[in-house]
Symmetry: D3
Subunit: 160 residues, 6 copies
C-alpha cells in the first residue's frame, strides 16, 4: 500500500479559518499533507514569510500528518521536485471554479501527472478570503471570527 | 408602524444611470433612503468627494425621501453608528452575485443584524458600471447614454 | 408614511428552514409580509393546500406582521389584485440568479410597477430546497435538520 | 497507515469515457475505489442494473484497486453502512458545481463525517454526460467517441 | 468569394421576439440563413409543425436571405446533408452558456467541421424563452410584449 | 452578394494557440478577417507593438483572407472608421461571458450597428490566456504547448 501525500499551496497572507477548514478536511483524506507557502517575489505580501510560517504553525499545532514548507516559482516544478503529484484546492464559489479550472488545466498541460483535488469548505467559511481579512484589518474592523486568535492579534498590532 | 430606512453605499465615481435606476427602485420600497459615498482613502478616485456629491445632488434632485451622505471605514461600522441595518445593492450579473454574497456574508459575520437587500436593475443598464464609464471617458468616447448630462459634461471637461 | 407590504410566494411543498429564514428576514424589513402559497393546478404537489397552510401556520406562529394566503394563476395578476407591488425572493446560488432574473424580468414586462427584492439566506441553508427535502423523505432519510419538527413528522407519516 | 477508500456513485446509464476518466484519476489517489451503481427505483433507466454492471466491468477490467457495487436509497446511508466516508465527484461545469455543492452540503447536514472530493475531468470530456449519449443514441447518431466500444455496440443494438 | 450560409435551428414552439432578434442579427452577418424547425418526435409540442412554420413565415416576411425548413434527428446529420457547417445560437445567460457549450462540444466530437457561432440578443429579450411564453399563456397572461401579434392571437385562441 | 468582413481585436501580448484557434475558425466563416492589435497606451505590455505584429505574422502566415492591423482608442470608433461592424470574440468560460456581455452591451449602446459574434475555442485551449503565458514565462516554466515555437523562443530570450 502506497503512502498518499498531497500539497496544499497558497499565500496564507494571513491564514484564515477557511484555510484551516480545508487543511483539516484534506489531512483526513491523505496520509500526509504538506501545507506550502508560496513566496511570490513578484507580489508584496502583508506578512513576512516567517510570520506566515509562525501563524500556520500555531494554527495547525503538532499534527504529525501535516508539515509546513514554502516554495517560489511554478507549483508544477515544486511538486515534481517533491515527487508529490496531488494538489489540494478549496472551492468556494463559481468565480473560484473558473479560476481554479484554468490553473488546474494549465498545470495539467505543463505536467500531465499532476492531479488537482477540490474540497468544499464549511458553509460558514464560504465567503472568506485572505484579501477580505486584510481589507477589514486595514479599516480596523474586528477579524476575530475570520482568523485564529494569534493571527487576529498580529493583524491588530500591525495595523495600529 | 416603524419607519423603514436603508443605506445605498458606493463610490459613485461617477454616478451612472444604473445607480439612479437602483436609487429610484429602492426609494419606493423604503420610507427613507440614504445614498452614501464611500470615500476610500486607500484608492484614488477620478472625481473628488465634492464633485461626486454634486453629481448625486443634481441627479437625484429634491426627493425628500432620499438624503446624501458619505463615510470612510467599514460599512458595518457606518450603519451601526447610523442605527440603520438595511443595506441596498444592485445585482447585475453572475460575477456580481459572487462578490456581493462574499461582502454580504462577511458583513453578517461582523454584524449579525445587518440585512443586505438586492435589486435587479433595468435590463438596459445591466452591463453598466462606473469603471466602464471612466474607461470610455479616457478614450474620449460618448458617455451621454450612460450618465446624466451634468456628469457627461464634467467627464468631457476633465478628460479634454 | 406609507405602509410597506410585500408578498413572498412559493409552493412551500413543504416549507423548509430556508423559507423560514427568508420570511424572518423579510418581515423585519417590511411593515407587513404576505406569505402566499402558489396552488399550481398544472403540477402535482406532495402535500395538499390545507397541509401546506397548516405547516406554515405552525412554523410562523402568531407573528402579527405576517399573514398566510394562497393564489393560482400568474403572480403579477395576484399582486395587482392585492394592490401590493413588492415581491420577495430568496437567492441561494448562481443557477437561482439566472432563473430568478428570468422570472423577475418577465414579471416586469407584464407589469412594470412590480419590484422584486432579493434576500440572501443564512449560509447554513444555502443548499436547501423543498425538492431536496422530498427526495430525502422518499428514501426515508432524516429531514429533522432541514424542516421544523411538525413538518418532519408529517413527511415521516406520509412516506411510511 | 490507514487505508484510504472512496466511493464513486452514479447511475452509469450508460458509463461514458468521462466516467472512466474520473475513475482512473480517483483510483490513483485512493488505495481502493468502490464504483457504485445507484439503482434509483423512482426513475426509469435505459439499461438494466445487470447491463450497467457488465459495461462497467468490461470498461474497468481487472484493476484490483477498483470494485463494483450497487445501492438504493440515500448515498449517506450507503456510505455509513460501508464505513467509507469519502465520496468522489467529477466536476464539469458551473451548473454542475451548483448542483454538486447542493448535494454535498445536504449530505454534510445528514452525516457530518462525509467528505466530498471533486476531480476535474480531462478537457476533451468536459461536455459529456450519459443523458447526452442516450439522446444521440435515440437519434441513431454515432457514439463511438463518447463511450467504450462494448457500450457503443449495446446502444446500437438496443436502439435499432 | 464563397457564399456564407448558416442554420438557426430550434423548436420555435412558439417563435418569440427573442428568436426574431437573433434571426435579424444573423441574417445581416451571413449571405443566407436557414431557420429550421426541429420536429422532435420524442417531445410533445404545443403547436403543430404547420402552425410553427406559419408563425415563422408571418414573422419573417419576404426576406430573400432567409428560408424556413424543418428537420428531425441529429442537427449534425441535418447540416451535413445540407452541406452547411455553421450553426447559429442565441446566448442569453450563464446557464445557457453551459448547455450551449455542452451541445456545441458534442456536435464537434460528432462532426469536426461544424462551427457554432453565438449571438447576444438585445438586452430587453434576455429573459425571454418559448417555455416562459407557454407558461404565461396557460395562465391566460398577456403575451403581447413577448411574441408577434399573429402568434399572440393563436396562443389566446388555443388556450381559451 | 456582399463581402463579409470581421475584426478580431486583442492585446496579443503574446498571441497564444487559443487566439490562433479562434482566428482559424473565424477566417472560415467570414470572407475577410482583420486581426487588430489594441495598443493600449494606459497599460504596459510585455511585448512591443512591433514584436506582437511579428509574432502574429509568423503564426498566421500568408493567409490572404487575414490581415493584421492595430488601433488605439475605443473599438467602436475603430470599426466605424474601418466601415466594418462585426467583431469576433472567443468565449472560454463563465467569467468571460459576463465580461464579454458587458463589453458587447456597452459597445451596442455606443454604436447600435456593431454586432459581436462569439466562437467557442477548442476544449484543449479553454483554460489558456496571454496573462497565464506571461505568468508561466516569468517563473521560467515551459510554454511550448501554449504558444507557437517562435513566440516561445522570444519569451525565453526576454525572460532569461
Amino acid at each position: 500500500m502506497k503512502q498518499k501525500i498531497a500539497v496544499y499551496a497558497g499565500s496564507f497572507d494571513p491564514v484564515t479559518y477557511g484555510h484551516l477548514d480545508i487543511i483539516r478536511r484534506a489531512s483526513k483524506i491523505f496520509n500526509h499533507l504538506v501545507v506550502s507557502i508560496f513566496t511570490n517575489k513578484n507580489k508584496k505580501a502583508m506578512f513576512t514569510l516567517k510570520e506566515r510560517k509562525d501563524m500556520l504553525k500555531k494554527a495547525i499545532g503538532r499534527d504529525k500528518n501535516i508539515s509546513i514548507d514554502c516554495f517560489d516559482g511554478l507549483l508544477v516544478d515544486y511538486v515534481k521536485q517533491k515527487k508529490v503529484n496531488v494538489v489540494i484546492r478549496g472551492l468556494r464559489a463559481i468565480s473560484d471554479l473558473e479560476y481554479e479550472f484554468q490553473i488546474a488545466g494549465i498545470n495539467r498541460m505543463l505536467y500531465k501527472d499532476i492531479e488537482t483535488v477540490f474540497f468544499m469548505p464549511s458553509a460558514k467559511y464560504s465567503h472568506l478570503s485572505s484579501s477580505m481579512v486584510r481589507e477589514i484589518g486595514k479599516f480596523k474592523g474586528d477579524v476575530s471570527k475570520l482568523v485564529p486568535p494569534y493571527v487576529a492579534k498580529i493583524i491588530k498590532k500591525r495595523l495600529s
